[in-house]
Amino acid sequence: MAFNKLKAHPLYQPLLLGVVTLLASAALALAARATQEAILEAEARDLRASLTQVLPVGFADNDLLADQVEVDVGAKNPLRVYRARQGDGADNSVRGVVFKVVGQGYGGEIQILMAINRDAQILGVRVLKHTETPGLGDKIEAAKSHWIAGFIDKTLATANWAVKKDGGDFDQFAGATITPRAVVKAVKEGLETFARHKTALLGEPEEKSP
């Protein structure tokens, strides 16, 4: 058969591989294009939902996604800060800030969203993304355990920022110490960043700061 002869040709193999790879890349590019907008939308929706979760009910009435700034805190990338305000007119100063911190967990990066009020007190913490062991390290998710609520109202001074195994205040999980340790460390670092760059994060002019 003519086709079998063609198949036996030495050039057939590389050509076939090339065509298959080309088609696969085309399919991926098309799929990426088709899903890009929906993924961005879903992620924005997620972020908005997380933003409202880390803030107490009624704490802010502005659209936090619209009220974001990037502040240089001395790290490699500027910190993206969402500001929570209430009321309008002259007295709508920033009541609290929400930003992302990253911890190094057992399975990779743990992305954490944390909200802090003007007095450097934690309003709420949520894990956005992680690759920890399912069933062990994933208790840092609010949906799976209440552990993450233990950060509420804590400040740098009022808590011992380590897991209990290391002599701190925060529980570790049975079988998973690295994960909660990473989260505690990341949140602590977030508080320290806030303490160091308070005026910039709150967006107030230097002379007005106490």
């Binding site: 198949k7 298959v20 696969a24 991926l28 899903t35 993924i39 929706r45 399912p134 069933g135 049975a174």
Partner: protein, 223 residues
């Protein structure tokens, strides 16, 4: 058509079960089965990819030459998994948040390449489809059983968080057996090896029993 169909289904679910008989895909089978819900989610996602991969491989089997079939299948499967990953992320975002961890793992699931190589590349589209469904469900069955045993012994629950995976209607599946926690060992990797070992031994024992009984019956009727 009906006889091979029945064989295909029986093969996939029991006789030639991916995990219990072919001993393939043991990595996901042991890594994610810390609970029944995790096993079920991984199984269903794998089934979807397995069915589509089987059908595609059966479609292009005439064009693909023996020498480069493996890279072609790998490219095909990796593309498929990535597309499924993006589609779930875009349009079934809630489900994606639960399954997201597992989807990328499907690429390295040798059961899919195994079925493409051993079955779909030698058969038509329809048998390949049936084989994909049967093998996928067999895999799902195996993962769910391992997950449930480990969950029951390790955390004292059954199908915890299944409603996150299947929707609120399935909350009734979530059963708390006791509040003592459990043997943490079962949730950790050694527990997976232990449970799988006992299950494999159990299946062998059952199959041998059934076979000796069938042989005895056959001998009796022939006398």
């Amino acid at each position: 058509m009906s006889a091979p169909f029945k064989t295909l289904v029986k093969d996939g679910l029991w006789d030639n079960n991916v995990v219990f008989a072919q001993m393939l895909a043991l990595c996901p089978a042991m890594a994610v089965t810390t609970s029944g819900a995790n096993g079920l989610g991984m199984g269903l996602a794998t089934t979807a990819v397995l069915v589509v991969a089987n059908v595609l491989v059966a479609l292009i089997r005439g064009v693909v030459s023996q020498e480069v079939r493996i890279p072609v299948f790998i490219v095909l499967i990796a593309t498929l998994v990535t597309v499924v990953d993006m589609a779930l992320n875009a349009w079934l975002h809630e489900l994606y948040k639960v399954l997201g961890l597992f989807i990328a793992l499907i690429v390295v699931n040798c059961a899919i390449l195994g079925r493409a190589e051993a079955f779909a590349s030698k058969n038509g589209v329809w048998p390949a489809f049936v084989d994909g469904v049967a093998m996928g469900l067999g895999f799902t069955f195996a993962l769910t059983v391992i997950g449930l045993i480990r969950e029951a012994l390790g955390s004292g629950t059954l199908f915890a968080q299944a409603s996150q995976l299947l929707g609120a209607h399935f909350a009734f599946l979530e059963i708390r057996l006791h509040d003592q926690g459990g043997a943490l060992l079962m949730i950790l990797p050694p527990g997976a090896f232990a449970v799988l070992g006992f299950l494999l031994a159990g299946k062998r024992l059952l199959d041998t029993r059934l076979k000796t009984r069938a042989d005895a019956n056959a001998a009796k009727t022939s006398e």
